[in-house]
């Protein structure tokens, strides 16, 4: 069903009984051309672009739970392309351009809201670093504005400008950044893929791989064996576990990242704001809740829940930035499992087993990358060559010494 003002009016006149499910909950077939493991944002986007851009429709997405139950529904919904390194900027800007036309492309309301992402700076050195980042962005055709404290006071008068230790001196603003309703991204891609013939198979956990003549030939699942010519892994958080089933070790650790939402408030925070002196970022959802987060807990975890020290650290950052937060009640907090790679950058590449493809290592920046990740992964799977925009995300970059370390932390994944 095509969604439009007319379909809405027709359905309304019929008492809204005419709506059909947005996508098919498919039964697994015995064989596919391509199987994507992982029904999150990246997996569903990959399947969508495989069908739409490469004409491959005999595709299945296997999800161990329900689609969108993992990190695509656990992030803080921020989109931006304010990167510094050449290998990253082009990729994330491609993602931003795909976000900008996503809803028309999918015929689905993902509530893309380009409300601006503002990174605050609190020292001369940090201003210089942000000026450099902004210049790098502008050289690559990405929008960036360096604001001083006076301009920010006009936008966000409630911030703690005159903090004795971390006064706000200004910020780097990307106006095209913003937020997107993350569940709708999963559902929209699922609908688009399903309409083009992709099977979305839920409650289907992959338990192992089948190999024939040195090639991957299929997967063993909780719903039986499924043969496939090509298999793409898009299971960030659990990539190491799945790779281990194929006998591979990866430059990835799984870490827990917590996020928080407050009770609903009247419109208060107009854009996405990040604190430059600690790690804290906040935006306001359309339901009114303040959505915020900060650092990783700092230890390996598959538990999807965190501990109190990280909660305290995030709340202290929030209080330092906007003391009014102290009067807001926290509604919920949750954890997601991040694929922390050894240089803080993702991996979109073939693996050393023919037919097996890897999309992993998104650290805690995977959501904003969803469209470009799906775009580039579909290109890789369909054509067996990396997409130029993801050319820096090769798996062998660690062995070659060509790491893409945006933060400059080295091989210490809990610090990226």
């Amino acid at each position: 069903m095509h969604y439009s003002i007319f379909s809405l009016a027709r359905a309304a006149l019929g008492g809204h009984r005419a709506w059909t499910p947005a996508w098919r909950d498919a039964q697994p077939k015995p064989e596919y051309d391509v199987v994507i493991v992982g029904g999150g944002g990246h997996g569903l986007a990959s399947a969508y672009y495989l069908a739409k851009e490469h004409g491959l429709a005999n595709v299945a997405v296997l999800e161990k739970s329900w689609i969108g139950s993992g990190n695509v529904g656990r992030n803080t919904t921020i989109i931006r392309s304010n990167y510094l390194l050449p290998g990253n900027i082009a990729f994330y800007e491609r993602s931003m351009r795909l976000w900008e036309k996503l809803e028309r492309d999918l015929n689905y309301n993902a509530m893309v809201s380009q409300r601006g992402v503002l990174n605050l700076y609190h020292s001369d050195a940090q201003r210089d670093a942000y000026a450099r980042r902004g210049n790098a962005m502008r050289l690559c055709g990405v929008d960036a504005e360096l604001l001083d404290a006076r301009q920010i006071r006009k936008m966000l008068p409630f911030l703690n400008f005159d903090n004795a230790r971390f006064p706000i001196q200004g910020g780097l603003l990307q106006r095209r950044g913003g937020t997107v309703r993350h569940d709708a991204v999963a559902w929209g891609y699922a609908r688009g893929a399903s309409d083009r013939g992709v099977d979305i198979v839920q409650n289907c956990e992959v338990l192992g791989f089948a190999f024939e003549k040195g090639r991957v030939a299929g997967v063993e699942t909780t719903r039986g064996p499924i043969r496939a010519k090509k298999i793409g892994l898009a299971v960030a958080g659990n990539t190491s576990r799945l790779a281990a089933l194929a006998g591979l070790r990866l430059p990835i650790e799984s870490h827990v990242l917590q996020a928080f939402v407050s009770e609903a408030l009247k419109p208060l925070i107009p854009n996405v704001v990040t604190f430059g002196a600690g790690h804290f970022y906040v935006s306001q959802s359309d339901k009114g809740g303040l959505v915020f987060g900060g650092d990783l807990d700092g230890y390996r975890s598959y538990a999807q829940r965190g501990n109190l020290p990280a909660v305290k650290d995030v709340c202290e950052g929030g209080m330092a930035l906007m003391p009014m937060l102290g009067r807001v009640r926290l509604l919920r907090s949750w954890g997601g499992i991040m694929d922390m790679s050894m240089d803080g950058s993702p991996i979109i590449d073939t693996m050393n087993i023919p037919g097996l493809y890897l999309n992993a290592g998104w650290c805690y920046g995977g959501f904003k990358a969803t469209p470009a990740s799906g775009w580039c992964f579909a290109h890789l799977i369909a054509r067996d060559e990396p997409h130029p925009a993801a050319a820096s995300f090769r798996l062998d970059r660690f062995a070659r010494g060509a790491i893409l370390d945006e933060k400059g932390q080295g091989a210490q994944p809990n610090l990226h």
């Binding site: 190491s240 070790r249 990866l250 230890y299 598959y302 538990a303 020290p309 062995a399």
Partner: protein, 87 residues
């Protein structure tokens, strides 16, 4: 999460830093395949889900390195001994 430091007793997580799983012994830089061994040592991880052996540092306490046996699915700690004693 609280960690039973063998020296300080049961202490809060906020006092500790996690190094993660042990990468094993540092390779010999003079070995013929040193580049491959260092790649393995620096970058590759088992990253197991479940029972794991990890190194932790009691930074805001006795400043000892500890070897923990911990479940990465539940955060339950099976044992914590001084890393020096575990060697």
């Amino acid at each position: 999460m609280r960690i039973p430091c063998p020296y300080c007793g049961l202490r809060d997580l906020s006092e500790f830093l996690s190094l993660g799983e042990s990468p094993g012994a540092r390779p010999d830089p003079a070995a013929a395949d040193a580049a491959r061994r260092f790649f393995d040592y620096v970058y590759l991880r088992d990253n197991p889900a479940g029972r794991s052996e990890e190194y932790w540092y009691h930074a805001s306490g006795c400043r000892s390195w500890l070897k923990l046996v911990r479940d990465s699915r539940t955060h339950a700690i099976e044992s914590a001994v001084l890393a020096r004693a575990a060697r």
